[in-house]
Structure formats: C-alpha cells, structure tokens
Amino acid sequence: MAQSRRDFIKKAGLGIGALTILPREVFGKMGDSSSKFVAPSDQMTRGIIGVGGIGMSNLHFTSDERCRLVAVCDVDAKHLENALQKGQERFGTKLQSYTDWRDLVHDPNVDIVHIATPPHWHGLMAVESAKAGKDIFCEKPMTRTIGEGQKVVEAVNKYGRIFRLDTWFRFQDTFYGLGTTVEPLKKLVDSGLLGWPLTVRISGATGFAWKFFWTGRENLVPEPVPQELDYDMWLGPAPLKPYHPHRVHGSFRGYWDYDSGGLGDMGQHYIDPVQYFLGKDNELPVKVEVDAPQQHSDAVGIWRNITYTYADGCKIILEGEGFESQGKVPYIEGPNGKVYKGFECTIPNVMDVINELPDPEPRQVDFLNCVKNRQKFALNEENGHYSCTIVNIGSCALRLGRTLHFDPAKQMFIGDDAANLLINQPMRAPWSI
C-alpha cells in the first residue's frame, strides 16, 4: 500500500536528522509560531496528470507558498518537455516527471492529484488517487459515465478524501450570459418571487454557446502514431481504434469514446450553477428528451434541443447552436416572473428586493483550506456527480435518440436496458474501475 508523505513523516518520528522535510512541530518549538513562514510540511504539494491543455494553463500551472507543484505526467513526450521547461522558467525547479500516471498518484511527495486528462480517464484516476490517499482536483466534466461518477463518490468518501471539481460558476465569477455571479439569482429563486416550477433555458439566445465545433469526424483515415505519443496509454480504458490526430489532444471532445462534444465540455459549466440555484444539489431530472439528428457510433454530432424535467416540473432546456429560440427569450422563466440575459428581470427593482434578502449559506471556496480542515469544497464529488450526471443522461439520450426516464434515487434509467448499459461502460483491459 502506498504511503502518503504525511504518514511518512509521522512514522519517521524523531528520526528527523535524515529528513530534508521537517515536521511542523519542530518549527513550532524552534521559534515564533506566529511567523508567516510556511513550514514545508504545511505547504501542500500537487501533481498534474495531463499537461497538454488546461493542465498547462497559467490558471493551474502554478506553485506558491501554500501549495507547490512538484510533479507532472503526460503520455506525450512533447507535452512533458514543455511542462518541465515551463516549470523551470516559472518556478526555477525541476519538476518530477512521469509518463505513467500511476507513478504520480503513488508518489509520496504528492498530496493533491490534479486530473487534467480527457474525461475518459477522470473516474479511474480519481478512484486510484483516493485509494492512494490523495486529495483530488479534477477538471470538468467529472466523469464520462454515470457509473464512474458513482465510483468516485464512493472512493472519495470511503478513503476520507477531499475532492474538488473544477468548474466554479456556482460560487464565483459572472457566468456567461448572466453578467452576474450566481448569488443574486440564487437569492431571487429562493425568495419564491418567480414562482414554481421554473424553466431554465441554456441557449445561445441567453448567452450560453454550445460550441458545436467540437464535433467528430467520420471516415477517418488511420495515420501512424507520432513518436512522442504513447497512444495506448492515451486511450487507456477507451476502445483501441486506429490513430488519427483529430482523436487526441485539442479535438478529442468530438468522440464518444472520450467525451461528448460541447455538451460534455460546457455542460457542467452551464448546468452546475443551475442545480445550485434551483436548490437541487441532491436531485436529478426524471426525464430527458432529445431532438437531434441521428448520432454516429464514434463521432459526436450536433443536436437541436435537450430537455430535462425534474419531478416537480422544473425544466432545463438546452438549445443547440443554430437552433436557438428566436426573439427575446428568458433564461429563467417561472409563473410569476422571468429573468433574461444580463439579469434583466420582469420584477421591478428586483435588486432592491434581493439586497434585503439574506445571502445564500456560506460555502467553502478555498480548496487548500478544505484540504487542511477536511471540509467539503463548494463543488465536490457529490454535487459534482449530480451535475455531471445531468450531462451524462443527456448524452445517453442523445446517443440512443430517444426519451429516457430516470430514477434519481437509484440513479438508473427506468425500463430501458440499453440506456442502463451506458451507465457502466466496459473498459479495455487491463483497466477497470
């Protein structure tokens, strides 16, 4: 069993002479405990798996006194080389580099595993990280299947881990067409002034683009795998298919094996805040309907509409690019009021009303603090799994091309074997979750 660095320090006891990393207690006794200096053992460490796209962004490729980036992993030698160079330039250190993510996950010098691979790996890596005693920072979408999400929730809970899913509009930043943070929306919805049930329209017309350029290509002509790429490891649990550059890196989103196009990539950004302001973090829709051209077996296509209905009648309607409602359409529509793009509202002086209402319940929005205090992050494995499940039941309905009914308690489709077969999809040997 892997040993975490913290355990390692603890077990090492007083044999500190041999260690370069000193336990905090030692520093406490050595001098002024109010000193701002962060003892190395208090400084957390992080490793990133996948340094081709988001993992290399300046948003994440960071290292500071609270958390140090110590390791990177990629299956593309060029990515790895770039990351090491960037590490040298930005932090003046040589990062530990890995080509097999399992080595990073089991590196005792890594506290937090940052999963920045394509989604088909997320579930597997998150579960393995939890089993290795790591806390987890995972890019959206959380998992490619509902079943993988369930496994992540289970492992994170059983192994006592802190998990953060990386989308953030439920707790910070103005999000897309709304021109505001989600908080005033949450207050407005909670106030009941809009009435109930509500319909939320996530559409280009309300400021949310579904990015249909992330569709796949059919009739790909196989090409030789570039020397720098370990394609077999890139695929991992995904079916072995002949290599083509469009399948990997920046354009993988267009293939069902790895993601589900704009729906997969943007879905959780858009839907997660909706779950939050509807107060449905522990709920899921009971029905999903799709209006789309037939989908290909491999390449993700476009769609016109995806409509989710909750048990209480609330709806989320996704409108595909080029199929948006015309004219002025509300983002949120209730029996007693509507909210449009830019937070324009049919309720007069709505901000006055909202300002007098209590703020939403405070949430933990500092991930490193969560790791320290063992409190759940605002967007964690549980609510993250729920919002990702909405994305995934949408992609199941889209692929099958039919209306599906869902049992939120069992997290299973009702009376549809094929849909349920998509909940847990087979993994290519030797991978399993």
């Binding site: 069993m1 040993q3 975490s4 913290r6 355990d7 796209g53 988001i54 290399m56 962004s57 300046n58 948003l59 490729f61 939890a130 005693g133 079943g147 809970n157 059983k158 192994y159 006592g160 990015k211 992330w214 059919e218 009739n219 002509v221 196989p222 079916p239 298919k241 002949p242 920046g250 354009s251 209006d291 051209p293 037939q294 989908q295 290909h296 077996s297 002086n349 300002n355 007098e356 209402l357 209590p358 703020d359 939403p360 319940e361 405070p362 205090n373 063992r374 409190q375 099958l400 091309g401 039919r402 009376g415 549809d416 074997d417 094929a418 349920n420 077969l421 998509l422 847990n424 087979p426």
Partner: protein
C-alpha cells in the same frame, strides 16, 4: 418418388424465396444507407423499422458493407445504419424486433474479419443485451478492516472504519466515539461523514453533544462544523456557549450558529461583530435566515450609547448596510452629525444603503451644503440611491429642483449625469462650453448617446493622456447605442486615429468584436502585431470571433494571415479557453478555400494589356479604399456609412481599351466608369464622361429613367442601347474603348454605344450663351470636362451592392 419430388419442389421454392429476400434486403439496406443519418426521430423510426423487419439478414448485409478503414473508405453511412438499427431494437417500444436484430449482430460479429469493425459490432451487440447491476466491490473482511484500522495509513484507516461501520451499523457510534479521540483530523472527519451517511445526522447528535466537552479543540472544531453543516438546531445553546471559548473553536461556533440559524444565536453573533472573529460573525449574519432587523437596530443604538466599541459599531453598520435595513436609517442620520469623525464618516459612506424617495429633500439639503470632497461623494451616492426607483425624467426634475435651491449646483452634476437624460446632456454640455470643468467631467460619464459628439470633439482637441478617458467613454457610448455596424466600426476607427493609448486600443477592439463585419476584421487584424500583449491578445480574440460569426465574406489573404497570426498569440497566453480557440481556428482554416486571381488571356498579353486588378490588391489604384475593398478576387463596392467616394487608377490615360467584369448583388445598383477625369470631381461633367453602370431593370427605376441614364450610356450625352441584365450574382463583361472623341461600349459582347462625343453635342459641351442650360446635350447640361485630353479612369460610387473583377487596360497612349 412422389414424395422426393415434392420435397425438391419445396426446397426450390424455399431457395427462390430466399433469393428473393436477399434481393429485397439488399435494396432495403441500400435505400436506408443512402438516407443516413436520419435528421429527425420520425425519419429514424421509418428507416429503422424497415431495416429491422429485414433482420437478421439486414444486419449481415450492412456488416458486409463495412470495409477496413483506409484512404477513400467511407463507412460512415453504414455505421450510422448499424448503430441506428441496434439502438432502435434496444428501445423497449420495439421489443418485438430485438431478438432478430440481436441474432443478426451476433452472426455478423463472428463473421467480421476486420478487428475494428468487429469491435463496433460487438459494442452494438452489447447494447442489445440485458442490463444487470454491477456487483459491489468485495469489501474487506471485518478482521482485515480491524487490523488496518490499527496499522494502516490514514486513508486506509478511513476505509477500515467505514467498512467496519457498514458491517456493524449498530456499533457504528462506538467507532465515531473513538475517532473523535484521534488526533488525526482527516480520520475524524471521514468517520463523522461516513457515519452520518450510514445512520443519519440525528443519530449522532446525542453522542456528539455528550462528548463535546471532553474533546480536543481540534475535534471540537470538527464537531461544530458538523453541527453547522447538518443544521442541528437542538444544539444552539452548546454552539452559543462555544462562541465564548475563543480561538478556532469560537470561529467554528460562529460559522455553525450562522448555518443553524437559531434565533437564540442572534445576540451572541451580534456580540461577536466587534471581536476577533468579527468578519466570520458578519458573514454568518449576512446569510442568517429570518428577521434580525430589530435586533440589529437595538444593538446598534446600545453600542452607540456606550460609544466605546467602535469595531462593534462598524460591524453592525456593515451588517445593516449589507442587508439594506431601512429600520436603521434614523440611527444612521443621527450618526451623520456625530462629533466623532469616525462615526459620521461611517454613516456618510453607508447612507445610500438606508434611504428611499422620502429622504430626497433631506439629502439634497446635505449635498447642497457639503464642502468636504468625501462628504460630497457620500451624499451624491445617497441621493442617487434615494432616487433610483424613479424614472429618468422624474430624477432629472427632482435634481434640478434641488439645484435651484442651492448655490452649489456643481455638487449635483454627478447625480444629474446619473439620470442619463437628454436634458442632462444639454445642461452639462452648456455648462462645459461655458468653461465649467466639473460639468465636462460628468458629461464624460453620462450614459446617453447624445453626449458622444461632444466627447469626440473634446477628445480631438485634448492632449494625449487627457484624451484617453474621454475617448474611452466615447467608445462605450458607441458600443451601447450605435446600431449601424459600419458606423460603429468607423467610430472605433476614428477613436483609434485620435489616440494610440493601449487603453483605447483595447476598448475599441472589444467594440469591433461586437461589430462582426469584414471591415472590422481587417481593422482589428492590424493590431495583431501590437507591442502591447493585451492589445495583441484582444486583436486575436477579435479576429477569431469575427471570422467565425460574420456572414460577410472576408478576403482570403487577410483571413488566413490574420488567423494564423492569432494562433501563437493564443498559445502564448495560456488562458483556460485559448486551447479551444486554437482548435477552433484550425478547424475554421481547414474549410477556407483560396480564390484564383484573374489573369490576362494569351491574346491580351500579346496585345499589351496590363492587369489593373487581378484580385490580390489595389496597388494600382487610389481613392476611397473604404468603399472599395478587395474580397476574394473581386472589388466589393460597399457604400457603407460615409462611403460614397470614387476609386481612381494611379495613372492617367488618354486613349485606351478598358475591360472589366461586373456583377450586381442587390437590385438597383448604381455606379459608373469615369473617363479622363480629374480626382474629386463629378466625372460625368468635369471628366470627359461617365459611362453609366446601372441595374436599370430594377423596379425602383421603372417609368422615370431617362434613356441617357441606362447602363452603358455616356451619361447625359450618348444614350446606350438598352440591354437586359443578367440575374443578380451573375457576372457580365464590359469593354470601354476610348480613342480621341470616339467612345465604344460593349457589354457581354454586344455593342451598346458607338459614338463621338464631339459630334453628339455638335461641339457644344457647354452652352454657347454661358448659361447653365445647354441645348446641345441630351441632358441639357454643361459638360465642361468633355474635351479633356487625358485623365484618370474611375469607378464613381453611388451606393453598394456591386462587385467588380478582372480589370485590365490596353493603353493606346496618344495614338488616335
């Protein structure tokens, strides 16, 4: 014998039927494949129902059409059909066909040789199977778990405790009790969380409250966090007293009390506002559910009466202001006149949060009398807030009323500007013109399009740095109010010509991004090499955004070169979405096709023709590059806003053969070819002539167009033979031959003018009597330039909707 015979007949019949089936199946499959992918669910159902009726043969037939992937192999339609069929048959509504289709997939899968196609068939076959819930992962044995609980690493202990509790839920509380004694925060929280999942929060409450006092401070923090997260209202008393414990325990208790929201906690929380965890208490109270206004007002009055605890007062005011508690307003007004400067300024800076329309007069009085700059700003904010529910015109009249009552009108300018009314623009502009700098400052903040011309004028005469804020506001107004896209672009262009500040560049680029036209693209592209990284990044975003959304055609050369320039900019910036931008550009560029430049024919080359415009650029031209833009091989004449000008050759010509092609994009297009004309004049009169380009077939000209105005006419001098134009979008050829006084116009091979201008007007290009009426020209006007010996050749713009290409000339020089 007879028996054998009948068997043979049956067999033959069966074979015949089978053969017939095969043929039908092939036809069905071919029909369906040709219709793939179905565009909607009803087409899908129809197509798949016919395929499934022919299962299992249809599956075999489809599968046999799959080829190993490779150059030129197009499996997609078959793949759509196969997946469609499998998914159709997997629909519970189509259970009747499932067995036959599944059989087909089973056979096809085992018959398939290509491993990848075999894999596809296997994956589809799987979808026709039955769902069975996955087996739960084998848990640790109780013995293993217990030993791991002793010796494992932290996360293993967490697992072990979880498994033990799940195996023996009745004993789970014991595990929790012992975990609370652990000094490992990870373990404590994990056990608490998993026990809650297993037993529900209520079951844990007695244990946690019972043990609370004996816990370490760290464990108390965890338990208090847990109380808060689970909103355990029964523990309010415990939580309230925990606030007295100080340190991290008090901090956790405050947060928990806020989440639990018991009214019994309000006083304790308010009491903490001035303390070391005042910020936490404020956060808790800001989100506290329920009506706490009375408590806040009372607490504030009490603290003010004591007058000592300034931080508590500040905390209470912050809370009251955050939740806009109007009830506190009398206290705040009284604080304004406090002799304690810290109290009066606190009241002043938050006043706006407590006032309504009833307070307008009172605040107006305060503002009129204020002299301290900070107080002025406070009262302005308060007045704006008190007015904010009124209509703009009501706001304006209330403010101007207040202004009349004071000698200090300038204090009100900011509020006046805040009304955004036309009247406010006029008032402020008038005062600015009279030299009132304060009025100008607020003219620069007003949200009204009428302010824009004043700002532009001021920016033009301002010095470098001073112009920046004025232009920024100008750009904001243009962005907000100018709906004509071409005018918006020109306004941005003008702002950019006045200042080269990066602030202006960035603001204008954002404006161009929202103005997705071909010309905005060209303008934004110029900033891709800007030395300021933020500017070049915005330029990259702008060209990408415009290229992907504009409906207008963009010239291939700039389109490709600007987008390629944008790629490294996106790559080097490393924002989260920039990778996607690069991908989007790559995808976009894959679908862009270059144009073929025009070329002289062999005959033209031999004769000595020169190409004046082959599509690649206007380097042989001068004049109005706004109205004449090269786009993919053609000159697009776009008389957008302010573009009605002319395009001239760089060289002057005397005798020549001039050839070009033209095409009308919209009805009624009007342009002309100026011959032997100076620049900047009307070629029809001050040049030798203008050869009319006109869509004379358009409805708008019916009934009144004069014969000397139809296409090809030497305008006002020699009428052309009227032709019928080709449909919109189709190209026509034209040749204009000018030698001495002779002019010959040929359109689409047909000569429509062949005349002599001098004889056409009997030598009188101007009226012999020196008047403006000339009886010798068909339009009755003077044509003073008619006998020019040489001049430029031009296109004379009178609107948009024209494309010109392949412009070439044979210069005949002085030759007669």
């Amino acid at each position: 014998m007879k028996k054998l015979y009948s068997i043979l007949v049956l067999l033959a019949l069966a074979l015949a039927v089978h053969a017939q089936d095969r043929k039908n199946v092939q036809e069905t499959v071919s029909d369906v494949v040709a219709a793939m992918p179905a565009q909607n669910s009803s087409d899908f159902a129809t197509l798949m129902s016919s395929l499934s009726a022919a299962a299992p043969q249809s599956v075999a037939d489809l599968a046999s059409r799959l080829k190993p992937a490779g150059e030129g192999v197009k499996n997609a339609a078959v793949e759509y059909a196969l997946q469609g069929l499998a998914y159709y048959a997997s629909d519970p509504a189509n259970a009747a066909v499932k067995a036959a289709v599944a059989k087909g997939f089973q056979e096809a899968e085992s018959a398939q040789k290509d491993p990848y196609n075999k894999q596809l068939l296997a994956s589809l076959l799987r979808m026709l199977g039955e769902y069975s819930a996955p087996q739960a992962a084998p848990a640790l044995s109780l013995k293993e778990a217990k030993s791991l609980l002793k010796s494992g690493a932290t996360h293993e202990k967490c697992l072990a405790a979880c498994e033990i509790m799940q195996a023996q839920p009745a004993k789970a509380l014991k595990t929790v009790a012992s975990a609370l004694k652990s000094d490992d925060r990870i373990f404590r929280n994990s056990v608490l969380s998993n026990a809650t999942k297993l037993l529900g929060s209520t079951a844990l409450v007695p244990l946690l409250t019972g043990k609370y006092k004996k816990l370490s401070d760290d464990a108390k923090v965890d338990v208090l966090n847990w109380f808060g997260n689970n909103k355990v209202s029964s523990v309010a008393t415990l939580v309230n007293s925990a606030m007295e414990e100080g340190g991290p325990v008090a901090e956790a208790a405050i947060a928990a009390a806020g989440k639990i929201g018991s009214t019994s906690s309000v006083k304790s929380l308010l009491g903490n506002l001035g303390g070391p965890f005042g910020q936490q208490a404020l956060t808790a109270l800001k989100s506290f559910k329920g009506d706490i206004r009375k408590d806040v007002a009372e607490a504030l009055s009490a603290k003010l009466a004591e007058g000592t605890d300034k931080s508590a007062i500040a905390g209470l005011v912050a809370l009251a202001s955050a939740r806009k508690m109007k009830e506190v307003s009398p206290v705040i007004f009284s604080m304004l006149s406090s002799s304690d400067a810290s109290l009066s300024s606190l009241a002043g800076s938050t006043l706006g949060d407590f006032v309504g329309t009833d307070d307008i007069a009172r605040i107006g009085g305060l503002l009129g009398g204020a002299t301290e700059p900070a107080a002025v700003v406070n009262y302005q904010n308060a007045l704006n807030s008190a007015l904010h529910t009124l209509s703009p015109t009501d706001k304006y009249s209330r403010i101007t009323d207040l202004m009349k009552k004071t000698g200090n009108a300038a204090n009100f300018y900011r509020c006046l500007a805040g009304t955004g009314t036309d009247a406010a623009v006029e008032d402020l502009a008038k005062a600015s013109k009279a030299g009132d700098k304060s009025a100008f400052r607020y003219l620069c903040s007003i949200d009204n399009k009428n302010a824009a011309p004043y700002l532009l004028e001021a920016a033009k005469s301002a010095s470098g740095e001073e112009a920046v804020p004025i232009l920024s506001q100008y750009i904001e107004l243009v962005k907000a109010y100018e709906t004509d896209l071409d005018k918006r672009r020109l306004d941005m262009k003008e702002a950019l010509s006045i200042s080269d500040s990066p602030i202006i560049k960035k603001s204008a680029l954002v404006g161009l991004m929202q103005t997705p036209t071909m010309k905005s693209f060209l303008l934004a592209g110029k900033y891709l090499s800007d030395p300021d990284k933020e500017v070049s990044y915005l330029a990259a975003k702008t060209v990408k955004a415009i290229a992907t959304v504009t409906k207008e055609e963009i010239n291939y050369d700039e389109l490709v070169s600007y987008l390629r320039k944008a790629i490294p900019i996106f790559k080097s910036t490393g924002h989260a979405d920039d990778d996607y931008a690069v991908n989007e550009i790559d995808e976009f560029l894959r679908n862009v096709k270059p144009y073929t430049p025009s070329a002289l024919t062999a005959e033209e080359k031999r004769q000595g023709f020169e190409m004046l415009f082959d599509g690649t650029g206007l380097d042989k031209w001068q004049g109005d590059f706004e109205g004449y833009t090269p786009v993919n091989g053609s000159i697009l004449v776009s008389a957008g806003y302010g573009a009605t000008g002319n395009l001239y050759t760089k060289k002057e010509y005397r005798n020549f053969v001039y050839r070009f092609e033209f095409c009308f994009l919209t009805e009624g297009v009007n342009n002309g070819v100026g011959v032997r004309t100076p620049m900047g004049v009307d070629a029809a009169y001050d040049g030798m002539c203008e050869v009319q380009i006109l869509d004379h077939d358009a409805e708008q000209y019916a009934g009144w167009l004069r014969e000397y105005q139809v296409h090809g006419s030497v305008y006002g001098v020699i009428p052309a033979k009227r032709i019928v134009h080709k449909p919109l979008g189709e190209w026509s050829t034209e040749e204009i031959r000018v030698e001495g006084d002779r002019i010959k116009v040929t359109v689409n091979g047909q000569v429509i003018v062949d005349g002599n201008i001098r004889t056409a007007c009997k030598g009188h290009n101007v009226a012999p009597d020196g008047s403006g009426k000339n009886p010798y020209t068909v339009d009755g006007r003077n044509h003073p330039g008619m006998f020019n010996r040489q001049g430029f050749i031009s296109f004379c713009g009178h609107g948009s909707g024209l494309k010109i290409r392949n412009v070439r000339i044979l210069d005949l020089g002085a030759r007669k």
